[in-house]
């Protein structure tokens, strides 16, 4: 399983970024949701999670040269950095016991998982990614309502639609997100297995 196409693409991207750091942006786009999801599930605090995520990517960029391809996914490497950063965060707030347990569990997981699984197992990451893929008006409504914590009235004024229209956009968006979460194992294999279906069964 480790020699999947995804792993090969992953490797090309990492090597390109090692040659030319300006290509790190591609690795960032691919992995942001999973890293942020991993962090925010532990911190339960958006501000802290954003700070830690920023730290993780800056660390990764700074140490990209030391990443060696040994068959362990790049994402696993990122999550290990994230795990240490979260641990540091909790050490600072004296809640280290919980993190120690988490750490061991993670080591086991990371050693055995493929990029595909790492990318798709976390429902939080799937929701974040799906939000990005929503039609623009729906995405703006969701971002304002949840990330910026604006009221329906404020959102309606900002995007120049009625409150009723905003509630409808919100409903449609959440329907799409709900469906993205409902895992459908490959019903009709169409030649290649789709990326998503690889997750649970991979």
């Amino acid at each position: 399983m480790k020699d999947s196409k995804i792993e090969a693409d992953d490797r090309l991207l990492v090597e390109a970024a090692q040659q030319d750091p300006s290509r790190f942006a591609e690795l960032y786009e691919l992995n942001f949701d999973v890293v942020y999801a991993f962090v925010v599930r532990q911190t339960r605090d958006r501000d802290a999670a954003q700070d830690i995520t920023s730290e993780v990517f800056h660390d990764a960029l700074a140490n990209l040269g030391s990443f060696e391809w040994r068959g362990i996914p790049f994402l696993a490497w990122l999550l290990r950095i994230a795990s240490n950063a979260v641990a540091d965060h909790f050490h600072r707030s004296a809640r280290n016991r919980r993190v120690a347990e988490l750490d061991e569990r993670l080591e086991v997981q990371l050693a055995n998982l493929t990029t595909d699984i790492l990318t798709n197992w976390d429902p939080y990451a799937r929701v974040f990614r799906s939000v990005k893929e929503l039609p623009d008006d729906q995405r703006r409504v969701v971002e304002m309502r949840f990330a910026e914590e604006k009221s329906i009235g404020e959102i309606a004024r900002t995007i120049g639609r009625s409150e009723g229209a905003v509630k409808q956009l919100q409903f449609r968006a959440l329907q799409t997100l709900r469906d993205a979460l409902a895992f459908k194992p490959a019903q009709k294999p169409q030649g290649k297995a789709s990326k998503k279906s690889g997750g649970r069964n991979g």
Binding site: D20, R44, H58, Y124, V127, V142, E143, Q170, F171, L181
Partner: protein
Amino acid sequence: MAKQNQFEQLDKLLDVILSRPRGSMPRVKGTLGTFARVFPPLLDLPSPDFRSRLKADLQRRALMASKPTVAREIRQTATAYLIVNNAAAAIEFYKNAFGAVEVMRLDGPGPRIGHAEIRVGNSSIYLADEFPEYGVRGPQSFGGSPVTINLEVEDVDAFAAKAVAAGATVARPIQDQFYGERSGKFADPFGYTWNISTHTEDLTGQEMQRRMDAMKQEGDPSSSAAPATPKVNFIRKGFTTLTPYLVLQDAAGAIDFLKSTFAAEEVFRDIGSAGGIHCEVRVGDSMMMIGGGGPAVSWKGESRPMPFHVYVKDTDAAYRRALDAGATTLYEPADMPYGERSSGVKDASGNFWYIATARGDSYKSLGAPTVQPYMHPRRAEPVMRFLKQAFGAVNLGQHADAEGVVHHATIAIGDSHLELGEAQGPYQPMPGMFYLYVPDADAMYRSALAAGATSLYEPNDMPYGDRVGGVKDPFGNEWCIATHFKDMTP
């Protein structure tokens, strides 16, 4: 109808979830129950700003980490290192004026830039902010720089026109030089002078010497070829590019107010050509002109009060002095989120004074003069477009909210600053008058008309040694466009 109901129900449920402490979810049944798994991740959704900001940060960091292949090609032995007051604005200016490319910058310590590198043509130039605490100061702290930097370009006329449009001023007009160049000298708003040149003739050193010797003879004081008028700076001594000109029915009262509130120093007062007071005062490092009526003065006319941002050492004390001098309060002294303690008053003539003390090393914000005239246009964009087109103004930075309302912008014209915040509440448009020193009043007058201003009077030589033309911009502000041509003894 049923659908409508679903939208409402989901929204009500979200209101409940969003108002609860994190992690406590209400139990929901029915259709809404199918959404239950979506809520927890959404409550932790990253802010879209954060995602893009981090990406931009990483890209900048990555650029700095890139192998310096380009830098190696242009590696040079000697590199100018410019210390400036407000390096961020300087980088922006060099980009607009010289087509510079920012190669890297190191932010800090503090809000300043510790080191930056730009590339102009094939050369690197280093830049940093002033750090007076380490003895690092720019030309504006010394009254100018003795060093001129030479830029050799393909087409000096086109290159210089762009630089002037971006806010450089002409120190010596472009002309063909005896040493085989066509060149001119230009001053930037940060205190540096640039000689911009294009090579026109291949000459031996001997030939240059011969031409220079020949010129020396022609230029002998006894020779009739000596220039008819001695050269003077186009900006009158003691002034900067832009001076606000207050026209008030009680000019004398306003002058007294400025003296008692801001310790203004009266530099000059006379009765002007229109029968009113013409007075020039200095407030800190800034000049202001005040004209109009007063006791025993025949002048009659409308007051044109204006808003100003004034830096003082102690806002609270200046605010009390202003009230004692007859002003009324606009807002009481308070700490502002942008790093200033500020208060606001309206004086008896109707001028608004935003009295501020910056926090930090200096009571003035980095790079700002003591007095900055303010504008409260209904919309900022057309005004900035006009100022840019007419006078080569540069937007040094603006702050707008999510709805696009520009709350604050700093505009540089030549070596001066002007601030701008779109009209709201009590802060409505107060069209004012400005006295603008430029290298060529006739050219700038035409440029202002081309940008949409209307003529008040054509450029004329005035007895006080300035050539002045007057225009009114589309927003009601009047501009006296002047070139100083003769120093007068007071």
